[in-house]
């Protein structure tokens, strides 16, 4: 029996922590840790060493200065400590947001470099100054490969040629997903109007719209919605036919412009649901911001113009506020936590407050659809950030399919990728411009909200925490093509499915790692999480995972598996004996051995 405590004693620092820590060793870029005798990493296909430097010092905030060899490839940074046995730092360059030279050369002739990372950590190295100024320092090489886009290089995802058993790009098929939802039906049709992204270049090609609105009218509606992002169906309730509709803000402007087509369109959406004579419009923004948008030609639906519609503001702040909040959070949790004011420091970041507002908004949407049987329209300004957060979370609450591993992949592909959440801009893949105001942790917040839900419903999700952490790690890693580009149109143009590997190919090749042992299929159930403060917690397993003190004390996960495996085992044996009893008593004369004990169906099996 292998005891994992031996692993816990000296964790490889580059890996994800928490209960599933060991699983991190299975991920492709971390497999190298198995061969930690070598100074160099074990390279991935098409990965090549670009530079190597001995006598580099890594200044670890937890254990102090470590001396070792630094290797830079076109994909990763790899540091291996020479004097201490087990220390390895291995991170994809995509994680690096910024590299800065700190101060001049020290008395020892060393120069310091700071690496600010997108995954809540900062790394610091020191290296001797190059005597010959013509020779590039390893950190200059690093900068070149960390920001390929800024340096005219290709992102590693386009080179990585690993073959997986499954083509992850096939996970999502819009037609199939709508068919699963029962679409098209008598009220809703699938339109080809955006087949060539002519109606809206940030929308997917497949759109679901009301049956009796012809494509020509859709074009007139598009003219009244920001970026042409017209209201389209995201999800339909299998029984009540109440729908979740998403779009961008209406172009009302200061003069309170109206559009008969848009008004009629929303009325048609309401009429498509016979159960309710009302339509809820959820504007994700604070009302002040929504009003301020009028100055820029945008705005919100007035209840005068839209009869039977009720407008609700959800008070979720914009991408700039969220970016600032995460910056503060990072300051509070990394590298060390100030002992005395933990709660007030955490509070001052407002991070949990934002999480709460997003979850509360999604909850209201799900409640209106499920309990109120009312269709809802969700938008923010452009309808690709807060709107994606809200619709995808509401759909996660409403539809058990999205709570499976594959279903969740479909949800991401659909609500985030196909509907044009601007991943390239929000994350800034390979771009050195770290101050870009378009960067924002919108997707991270969504995953955080999912984690909060997992905690409240530990048996309702097929995937585990490690699945979420893996998605976040590869959001930045630039190993897979999944989170590249800003829209479906761009992805098609760049031929991503042909040139890159999908993250889902990797994940689906080892589902075992990402499966929640407690999962029970609650597919017909709607989950309403509690969004009160007492139930929201900082996701320590993600935000504080670099801190060695965070190391999990005991592998609960494994204990779950053991308990469930033991039950499954017993179930099997009882069934066998049951059969034997029946057989024997059948064989042994007329005397039948009572009534058979009820057979037990396994709740969860791992084979």
């Amino acid at each position: 029996r292998s005891d994992r405590s031996t692993h816990a004693a000296k964790p490889p620092f580059a890996m994800s922590s928490d209960n599933v820590a060991i699983s991190a060793e299975f991920s492709p870029e971390l497999r190298v840790l198995r061969d930690s005798n070598k100074e160099e990493p074990q390279l991935l296909p098409k990965e090549s060493v670009q530079d190597m430097a001995k006598d580099v010092t890594y200044i670890c905030p937890y254990i102090g200065a470590l001396r070792g060899t630094l290797t830079v490839t076109n994909y990763r940074l790899f540091f291996k400590c020479m004097d201490r046995v087990s220390f390895v730092l291995d991170l994809p360059l995509g994680v690096v947001s910024r590299v800065e030279k700190i101060g001049g050369a020290s008395s020892r002739g060393e120069v310091s470099y700071g690496l600010v990372c997108k995954d809540i950590r900062n790394l610091r190295f020191a290296h001797k100054q190059m005597e010959d100024s013509l020779i590039k320092s390893i950190f200059e090489i690093l900068m070149k490969f960390a920001f390929p886009v800024s340096n005219g290089l290709t992102i590693f995802a386009f080179e990585y040629g690993q073959v997986y058993p499954e083509n992850g790009w096939k996970v999502y098929d819009a037609q199939a997903e709508y068919k699963r939802q029962g679409l098209p039906n008598e009220s809703w049709r699938i339109t080809k109007v955006n087949d060539h992204y002519e109606l809206c270049d940030t929308y997917p090609s497949t759109l679901v719209v009301p049956v009796n609105i012809p494509d020509e009218e859709l074009k007139r509606v598009a003219a009244f919605r920001a970026k042409g992002r017209i209201p389209v169906l995201s999800w339909i309730h299998p029984e009540s036919q109440a729908t979740v509709i998403r779009c961008s803000q209406p172009m009302v402007g200061v003069n309170g412009k109206r559009s008969k087509d848009d008004e009629k369109y929303l009325q048609t959406i309401m009429d498509a649901n016979a159960q309710s004579h009302k339509l809820f419009i959820f504007d994700a923004r604070p009302s002040v911001n929504a009003a301020a948008n009028k100055m820029k030609g945008g705005g919100y639906e007035s209840e005068d113009a839209y009869q039977n519609a009720e407008l609700v503001f959800l008070d979720i702040h914009n991408i700039h506020v969220m970016r600032e909040s995460l910056r503060k959070l990072k300051e509070v949790v990394y590298p060390n936590i100030e002992e005395s004011h933990w709660f007030s420091n955490l509070e001052s970041t407002h991070w949990l407050e934002h999480i709460k507002l997003i979850l509360a908004g999604a909850l209201r949407i799900a409640d209106k659809v499920e309990s109120g049987k009312t269709s809802v329209v969700v938008h923010c300004s452009d309808g690709w950030d807060r709107t994606a957060q809200l619709t995808s979370l509401a759909m996660l609450m409403l539809d058990g399919h999205y709570r499976t591993i594959r279903g969740f992949q479909v949800l991401l592909e659909k609500e985030w990728l196909s509907f044009g959440h601007r991943f390239q801009l929000r994350i800034g893949h390979g771009d050195k411009n770290h101050t870009d105001a378009d960067r924002s942790p919108v997707f991270l917040q969504f995953i955080d909200c999912v984690w909060q839900m997992i905690r409240q419903f530990p048996a309702a999700f097929e995937f585990n925490e490690y699945f979420l952490i893996t998605i976040l790690d590869h959001l930045y890693s630039c190993l897979f093509g999944t989170f590249m580009c800003n829209s479906e149109q761009q992805r098609v143009k760049e031929e991503l499915p042909k040139k890159t590997v999908s993250l889902w190919a990797y994940i689906n090749s080892q589902l075992e790692e990402f499966t929640n042992p407690l999962y029970v299929n609650y597919s017909n159930h709607v989950l309403f999480p509690v969004v009160s403060m007492r139930h929201l917690e900082l996701w320590v397993g993600y935000y504080i995972r670099w801190n060695p003190r965070m190391r999990p004390q005991e592998p609960v996960h494994q204990r779950y598996k053991e308990l469930l495996a033991k039950r499954a085992e017993l179930q099997k044996r009882v069934e066998e004996l049951q059969r034997e009893v029946t057989n024997r008593s059948a064989a042994s004369s007329s005397e039948r051995a009572g009534s058979p004990t009820r057979s037990i169906t396994p709740v969860q099996t791992f084979v």
């Binding site: 029996r1 292998s2 933990w342 949990l352 989950l527 509690v530 099997k572 004996l577 004369s589």
Partner: protein, 655 residues
């Protein structure tokens, strides 16, 4: 009975504090021991019982159009709001409850009337369930270093100490008595925990009466004797759990702390746990936060922080860690004291014991620990938990903090504790409830005088009999981390708000699905399966016998299925044949995955369970079919009813 002015009020509305929109109408009854509210409307009779001894405050509010509200707060954090139609009735209920919830004499307490007529002999045996003598002998004392001292047999030396105390063998009678005279309340240094692996000990006492310069030779000799009773170490720690300022202030009153210069071979250390008054106020502040209906982010977090409660919990745990480290790692004995040595000292010694010894992480172990460090050493239960109407300044959540430390540890080490949080909450409840005799009175002398063992029941036997409710399904006694000393992390984010205790009755506030409920159901099912297995085996062996008699006659008429099972199970191949085969699918899966290592996680799956019996089936038939069955079940079959029920309901309930 004479205190009940009004035994019954009708048309009373009960409002649960949290879901304040819904009120239920019913009848309120006052009995000698409980307030009982019976709902009218519902088809099923719903009753709410509140024990008088658990009531901590009764407040009558201003009359409104609907009636007069009566607010009842309980020591177990239940809060109820009754609205009584007539003000006069409300007044009567109020006055009655005030008196009923504040008994003046021990004899009025609930434990003396709870099942008073049960068999005396059985009751007496129940009290013998835990024996401190057995506990000390488990620890390995008396031995060549430690003696049982008869000095306090009649509670003459210290009336708050137990009769049986363990002292270093080299400490003579005059030394003990001399030392006791130099200590507050005569509470001289004596043994609390002994580590037989390295002879290091945890001793406890009260503060020395050192004032600014007083010395006592016997006390110095007493400490020297403790140092000598640990042959592997040449010094000991003296831990004063108070903040230094408080200890210095005590000097002015002729008390204080040990001067390192006067005692040979001691290292003196302040720990800085605040006193009972600070703790009482801190809890009060935290409860204000936990009672808030819908606190904002900043109200909750800042309120929690400014209450200081978790900081105090951390201080107690840190002190325990210091001592556990000294004993386990350095092999150094420790003497712990505070002022009187019955509050902070009890906390710190018992926390250190839980960290050091896995036994205290079992059900029975925690009971014994509370019995030893708290009950026998004279923690003033009746004063601290307000059993009788007394001085409110004596009340403080001291043992509450110990229980919370254990809870915080169990959150950090989820597989290391045999008991679950319900066990801790039940103990907490009964410390206040006065339903059992265990925690009545303030010291052993008082308890003996009250003849509690004759007149009341013991909580420990009740808990032991109901232990299935209190078992942590994750407990794994064989795990390496479970066996050794616990080394918790005490970074601030490791301390959580204990929702299950402080919001115990706010049902709307609990998570919709609880892993522990789920796992307990799994565990129960596993047990049932094991029973079924045994019964099947018996049935089979019975059938075999029968068949043996009649088999010859039937041999000719054997059907196909019989042929499969015909070979009788041989004992030699028990539990082997069907395990690896069952998981062959897994092996296939792993080889096809891009990553070759299977890792410890999956290898564990193949191990047969420890309690495995049963008979291997014919491999050809059973492994194949079972494999398929489980594979299909995985995808299509609904969860078994038993285990799904709980989370099921939860998933439906609306926000």
């Amino acid at each position: 009975m004479e205190h009940i002015r009004l035994p019954k009020v009708e048309k009373v509305r009960l409002i649960n504090k949290i879901s304040s929109r819904r009120a239920s109408v019913g009848t309120l009854y006052l009995t000698a021991t409980h307030t009982i509210f019976v709902e009218n409307e519902t088809e099923i009779r719903t009753e709410t019982w509140v024990l008088h001894s658990l009531v901590c405050s009764v407040e009558k509010q201003a009359t409104t159009t609907t009636g007069t509200p009566l607010l009842v707060h309980c020591k177990n954090y239940q809060a109820l709001r009754f609205i009584i139609p007539q003000e006069r009735d409300c007044h009567d209920v109020h006055v009655s409850l005030l008196r009923l919830s504040r008994p003046e004499r021990y004899e009025e307490l609930y434990c003396f009337s709870f099942h008073a007529n049960s068999d005396k002999e059985v009751r007496g045996q129940a009290w013998d369930f835990l024996s401190l003598k057995a506990e000390y002998s488990r620890l390995g004392v008396p031995n060549h270093l430690w003696n049982l001292s008869p000095v306090n047999r009649d509670y003459k030396v210290s009336d708050t100490y137990p009769a049986e105390l363990y002292v270093p063998k080299s400490a003579t009678h005059p030394v003990i008595v001399g030392s006791s005279k130099f200590r507050s309340r005569g509470r001289f240094p004596t043994l609390s925990y002994y580590c037989k692996e390295n002879d290091a000990a945890i001793c406890r006492s009260s503060q020395p009466l050192s004032g600014f310069s007083a010395r006592c030779l016997e006390d110095e000799q007493m400490l020297e004797a403790i140092v000598r009773s640990n042959p592997r170490s040449d010094f000991m720690y003296v831990v004063d759990t108070r903040p230094k300022l408080n200890a210095m202030a005590n000097r002015a009153a002729g008390k204080g702390y040990e001067n390192e210069d006067n005692y040979s071979n001691i290292k003196f250390q302040f720990i800085g746990i605040e006193n009972i008054h600070v703790m009482r106020n801190s809890l009060q502040k935290m409860l204000e936060v936990s009672e808030a209906w819908s606190p904002s982010m900043s109200e909750f977090l800042e309120g929690l922080e400014s209450s200081g409660w978790l900081k105090h919990i951390k201080a107690v745990l840190d002190a325990g860690i210091f001592i556990a480290k000294a004993v386990a790692e350095d092999g150094v004995s420790v003497l712990v004291h505070c002022s009187d040595g019955w509050d902070r000292t009890a906390q710190v010694c018992s926390v250190a014991s839980v960290l050091l010894d896995p036994y205290y992480r079992t059900l029975k172990g925690l009971m014994v620990l509370i019995e030893r460090d708290w009950v026998s050493f004279g923690h003033k239960f009746s004063h601290r938990y307000n059993h009788l109407d007394g001085d409110p300044k004596e009340v403080s959540p001291v043992i509450d903090q110990f229980l919370e430390c254990v809870w915080q540890l169990s959150e950090q080490f989820p597989c290391a504790f045999e008991y679950n949080e319900r066990f801790l909450i039940t103990i907490h409840n009964h410390i206040y409830s006065c339903q059992y005799g265990n925690f009545i009175g303030n010291n052993q002398k008082e308890r003996t005088e009250l003849r509690l063992q004759e007149k009341t029941h013991s909580l420990w036997t009740y808990l032991w009999e109901n232990r299935t409710d209190h078992i942590n399904p994750l407990y794994r006694p064989d795990h390496s981390q479970t066996r050794g000393v616990l080394r918790p992390v005490t970074a601030p984010y490791c301390f959580k708000f204990w929702r299950a205790l402080y919001n115990r009755f706010d049902r709307g506030m609990h998570p919709r699905q609880s892993v522990i409920d789920y796992l307990m159901a799994v565990r129960e099912e596993t047990q049932q399966l094991e029973e079924q297995l045994v019964s099947h085996e018996e049935k089979i062996s019975m059938l075999e016998k029968e068949q043996g008699k009649s088999i010859q006659a039937k041999m000719n008429t054997l059907d196909r299925s019989h042929a499969v099972w015909a070979s009788p199970p041989s004992e030699s191949c028990l539990g082997l044949a069907n395990t690896p085969g069952d998981y062959s699918g897994l092996g296939g899966f792993l080889t096809s995955s891009p990553c070759q290592q299977t890792g410890p996680e999956s290898s564990l799956l193949i191990l047969p369970g420890p309690g495995e019996r049963g008979k291997p089936s014919d491999p050809d038939l059973s492994t194949n079919s079972d494999d398929q069955e489980s594979g299909i079940a995985d995808l299509s079959s609904p969860p078994s009813e038993d285990s799904a029920k709980d989370p099921d309901e939860a998933a439906y309930s609306a926000a």
